[in-house]
């Protein structure tokens, strides 16, 4: 287990290093970037940037200074809002985005698993077909389309839910549905196919031959095995939810990190783009790492294998 975690940890740090370096060199390549001579920013900002990134030093030195700022999590000032640093924006936006993201992923996981299990248990029945038609629909409708549709119906036509901001539980309903539907549909489909496959396994037949009750077989013998593949795609789903927050926050005017990120892209506010990208990447990669560990804990075979047993 220790060896397994160490290996994952090394890979994680390597990946973060690569994305941080990639970001740095890409930013250097753009005309008008904070690292570039032809930038057209005002003097205060320029002075701030020079101070933070030591732009008069050679490239390699700049790179090391930048890497230091990545490690210490200090991404310097924003170009467009000279009074604020990137960290200010992250500190303000991230809690809101995290709340939106976590609520959505929890909703997606719970409802997706329930839908998938019921579809599998009624394999080829009417519930199965309806659940899966719903799931394909959920995968096919882009979240920004769904979001506008929800606002149109619930906020404008029927006027039952608020359309914007993130100020109360009622405000959270529409953004959460818009963001959670896609991952929920993916989880439901995966749970269903994995459950159907698990239910054909010999150990399920053995359990039936022992005379166990059907619901007990589903919960004790099938569910844990069937959910293994769902755990493996959690990383990808988290990434999807995270990028989904960009458009959802834009549409619902939620003052989260995604909104700042989209604004920074449109305004070419490079320090913010850089800082957010590196932060998001590190966060996601960290989540992937946790997912891997969770998988190792769930499946007894992995633990032993990595210890060099068998």
């Amino acid at each position: 287990m220790v060896k397994y975690i160490t290996k994952r940890l090394v890979l994680m740090i390597l990946t973060i290093f690569i994305i941080a370096s990639l970001t740095f060199f890409l930013m250097h390549a753009i005309p008008g970037s904070p690292f570039n001579e032809e930038r057209g920013t005002n003097e205060t900002v320029q002075a701030n940037l020079e101070e933070h990134y030591h732009l008069d030093e050679p490239l390699l030195v700049q790179y090391f200074i930048y890497m230091k700022s990545v490690v210490t999590f200090d991404f310097g000032p924003s170009i467009k809002q000279p009074t604020e640093t990137v960290n200010d924006l992250l500190g303000r936006g991230f809690p809101i985005s995290a709340e939106l993201g976590i609520i959505s992923i929890v909703v997606a996981v719970i409802s997706g698993i329930i839908l998938g299990v019921f579809a599998a248990l009624r394999h080829n029945g009417i519930i199965d077909y309806m659940a899966m038609a719903f799931a394909v629909l959920g995968i096919s409708i882009p979240n920004f389309v769904l979001a506008t549709l929800l606002i149109q119906k619930f906020a404008v036509d029927w006027d039952v839910l608020p359309a914007a901001t993130w100020s109360s539980p009622m405000h959270m309903i529409l953004p959460t549905i818009a963001l959670a539907t896609g991952p929920m549909a993916i989880i439901a489909r995966l749970t269903r196919s994995s459950m159907i496959e698990t239910l054909t396994q010999d150990y399920i037949k053995t359990a039936h031959a022992k005379g166990l009750k059907p619901w007990k077989i589903v919960i004790k013998h099938a569910l844990k095995n069937a959910l293994m593949p769902v755990v493996t795609i959690m990383g990808t789903l988290l990434a999807g939810v995270l990028t989904g927050t960009f458009v959802i926050e834009k549409i619902f005017a939620i003052p989260g990190m995604g909104k700042y990120f989209v604004e920074s892209i449109n305004q070419r506010d490079y320090p913010v783009i850089m800082g957010t990208t590196v932060f998001y990447s590190a966060f996601l990669i960290g989540m992937l790492f946790l997912v891997d560990i969770a998988y190792g804990l769930l499946d007894p075979r992995i633990k032993l294998h990595k210890e060099g047993g068998e």
């Binding site: 010999d202 150990y203 053995t206 039936h208 009750k213 004790k220 095995n225 769930l298 007894p300």
Partner: protein, 330 residues
């Protein structure tokens, strides 16, 4: 001896998108207390389906017991409700499946899987269940049972896993044990050990065994009686002696000629040519006609007569007809 199982004219079919497959087409046999009956046949002959039908483990749909009855201690299992059959499964009748590598749940400990059946069926404490499980592991020859109860299936070898599966099947002390190809997935040396274990268990517990196999070698070691199945029918049944020394059906003879035997030296192994018939459209007459070296015109047209050669030896073959015997003689 007391009859504990009586299968009469069992028909099982599966609805597939290619049409209806009649996997079992009128199988009858019975089983006495403490006896080992082997059901032998090629893959796809319906022997596993027959075994699964006894436990009502045929997935339905697409499978269906279309006709016939299965009397176990006076009760017709085919008519029992799902709940009633659950109280029989694992308690009165237990089943062992072919592949011990997949028959155990990889994410649960051995102890958990051993005790869950007895906890379900008997009103006992966890501690008693555990003691019982350890006894069973001792019986099937697992060393260090207390330690091993905490381990997962992947920490055992194939032979050990099959022993655990057997222990699991025996924990509620069933009267009938159905073993579906219990040694097929194992190494030859392990096979012998497992077969010995069956013998030992039968002596100690008096359980009746139905052994499903395609391997006549396995049968020779432990079966009291043998039923030979072909294309969903029992074509010959008899004691071990009758089947091995005076086989009547050309298919049984073919089977015996296609396996190596130690008691008959220098004899060439003869494979049976061809493949079994398609059960989407089973032939009208004897299903073996197309591959039978002694086929006559009647064989393809009418299903053979059922002849009883002794109290125990029965065969479905036209060669038993007087007219056929005359033609061969001339």
């Amino acid at each position: 001896m007391e009859k504990i199982l009586e299968v009469n004219d069992l028909h099982v079919s599966f609805q597939t998108y290619g049409g209806e497959v009649k996997a079992v087409r009128g199988v009858s046999f019975d089983l006495h207390k403490g006896e080992t009956l082997a059901i032998v046949g090629e893959s796809g002959c319906g022997k596993s389906v027959t075994a699964n039908s006894i436990m009502k483990l045929i997935p339905s749909p697409p499978g269906k017991i279309a006709n016939g009855s299965i009397y176990f201690k006076g009760r017709d299992l085919t008519r029992l409700s799902e709940k009633a059959i659950r109280d029989i499964r694992g308690v009165d009748i237990s089943m062992i499946f072919q592949d011990p590598m997949t028959a155990l749940n990889p994410t649960l400990t051995i102890g958990n899987q051993l005790t869950e059946g007895i906890k379900q069926h008997q009103n006992i404490t966890s501690k008693e269940a555990k003691t019982k499980a350890i006894d069973m592991l001792n019986l099937v020859g697992i060393p260090n049972p207390e330690e091993r109860m905490k381990q997962y299936p992947h920490q055992f070898s194939g032979g050990m896993r099959q022993r655990i599966v057997i222990a699991m099947a025996l924990i509620c002390e069933p009267e009938l044990l159905i073993a579906d190809e219990p040694t097929t997935a194992l190494d030859v040396t392990i096979q012998a050990q497992i077969l010995q274990l069956f013998n030992k268990i039968q002596q100690e517990t008096g359980v009746s065994i139905i052994l499903i196999t395609h391997d006549l070698g396995v049968v020779a070691k432990i079966a009291d009686r043998i039923a030979v199945m072909y294309a969903g029918k029992v074509i010959e049944v008899g004691t071990r002696k009758e089947i091995f020394y005076t086989p009547q059906h050309p298919y049984t003879q073919g089977l015996l000629n296609s396996v190596p035997r130690l008691d008959k030296r220098k004899e060439k192994l003869v494979p049976i040519d061809g493949t079994p018939p398609d059960l989407f459209a089973p032939p009208q007459g004897c299903p073996f006609t197309a591959r039978c070296p002694k086929a006559m015109e009647v064989c393809g047209k009418v299903y053979p007569i059922h002849s009883e050669l002794s109290n125990t030896h029965e065969v479905d073959c036209w060669l038993q007809d007087e007219r056929a015997k005359q033609h061969i003689a001339t």
